[in-house]
Amino acid sequence: MDNNISLLETVEPDIIGEMTARRGPIEKAKAMTGVLGSTIISFGALAGSAFGGDKKLPGKIVDVLNFALTLEYLEDDFYRTAVGSSNLIPREARDVFGQISKHETAHVALLKSVLGSKAVAKPQFDFTAGGAFGDVFSNYQTFLAVSQALEDTGVRAYKGQAGNLQDNAKILTVALQIHSVEARHAAQVRRLRGEKGWITNDSRGSLPAPTQAVYNGEGNAMQGGANLAGLAGLSNDAITEAFDEPLTKDEVLKIAGLFLRK
């Protein structure tokens, strides 16, 4: 029965109550912290045993894949709603968003097929983020802004999880193959908005302030233990653009949590 609970729904107080009612005091304590990230961690750590299903996949990998699936649910729902909304996407951009939507749908199906019965359920989303993006499905510019934020977040999310998949070459490769597609999407949407396809420093560009968490840390110039500032006479802009940065699962879920139906 627990497999009807999605990752993001774990932040809902009533769901947390349900979960904790069925689990021991340690999990209860963790879940009751009320902090999204730690709640997710405690829940995710249980996923392997709690969800039954594919016994071959270690819990750590199931955890990552369900995290990815949650993000893909979010993107898939977002684009399917947008593509299905009349008078939102102008004719000239329909091929672009049709393609993106197709990929997100495929990612959901692929991850669900890998996870089998361990796949989390799809949460209910609110793409207005409680009203912050109230016209997301009627104003093209708002839609583009949310799209960019989701894609750039997706890239960072997959990047941050690669290390957790190293034990399974096949799944790691699949995750990398999704990761680069999200980056293609991100670049395309950014360019539709008149931004560069790449991220300069930690700039959110013309996106509204609530999206800054999507870009925090992108200004990093330390790579492999070396400070690349001034490398080969390049500008700091160029150096930070040349390396995308990861986000932790907690950081991503805080961003994604904005779009959870409250």
Binding site: E104, A106, T173, L176, Q177, A238, E241, F243
Partner: protein, 249 residues
């Protein structure tokens, strides 16, 4: 004839490359031809380019093959080789801009050049003494005066880079290196999408069904053997990769 060439690259290779050739570079703008010779960290040594251009046979290199090495270092050198190729390509693209390059195209290609130089120089620094030497490139098949040829080659290189990093991730042992490869591959994918959009604007081509499987939504992942075979025609230096790690499954 013998020509002294000031390197046109923006890397550290500012030393004069001494180039001698029996042939004059008839069909090349002088800058394009000389830049092609000066690329790839050729350095100050004498570079003999007998019949080197216009699709004519190239004299075998006097030096031996470059081996990428083994383990994680081998994979990093493999990445370094690809980044050298890309950096050299875009350096020439910007040095000898194709006809009617728009300012928007120039801005994108200049940014990409700088990113690839950053990647190349990063690997060079990171690998230190274990780095392979600078590679000599062979761009004789590219018409740098043609938008179609330049953007078509850029697309090839970027898609190849994406598939190379995607395929090599599983060959890396150290998590730190995997993360670094991840930091770079998404930038390559951003490049690929942008170049593709220049070729077929506002279409599905930025992540087209030819590179992103429409059924799974997955980009390509290629093993080094396949990638090096595709990159081979653009690299003059002979590279051996027999000691690279192989996939487990």
């Amino acid at each position: 004839m013998e020509i002294n060439v000031k390197s046109l690259t923006t890397d550290n290779n500012s030393e004069t490359a001494k180039i001698s050739s029996r042939r004059t570079f008839l069909k090349w703008s002088s800058a394009a031809a000389l830049a092609a010779l000066a690329f790839g960290a050729i350095g100050p040594e004498k570079f003999v380019a007998n019949d080197a251009f216009l699709g004519l046979p190239i004299e075998p290199l006097a030096q031996g093959a470059v081996d990428l090495g083994k383990g994680d270092i081998g994979i990093l050198n493999y990445a370094y080789a690809l980044e050298q190729l890309e950096a050299a390509f875009y350096t020439q693209v910007i040095s000898t801009k194709f006809n009617r390059m728009t300012s928007a195209e120039s801005a994108i290609l200049t940014d990409i050049r700088d990113h690839e130089i950053a990647h190349r120089e990063f690997f060079k620094v990171a690998l230190g003494k274990k780095a392979i030497p600078g590679l000599q490139v062979n761009f004789t098949s590219i018409d740098f005066g043609s938008r179609e040829s330049v953007l078509g080659t850029a697309k090839t290189f970027e898609d190849l880079g994406v598939s190379a990093y995607n395929g090599a991730g599983q060959l890396l042992k150290k998590g730190e290196y995997l993360l670094l490869a991840g930091k770079i591959v998404s930038v390559e994918a951003r490049h690929a999408a942008s170049i593709r959009d220049l070729l077929q604007p506002m279409s599905s081509y930025f992540s087209g069904d030819d590179v992103t499987d429409p059924n799974t939504g997955l980009d390509m992942a290629k093993m080094p053997s396949e990638v090096l075979a595709a990159a081979g025609p653009f690299i003059r230096t002979r590279i051996t990769a027999n000691n690279l790690p192989r996939p487990k499954m």
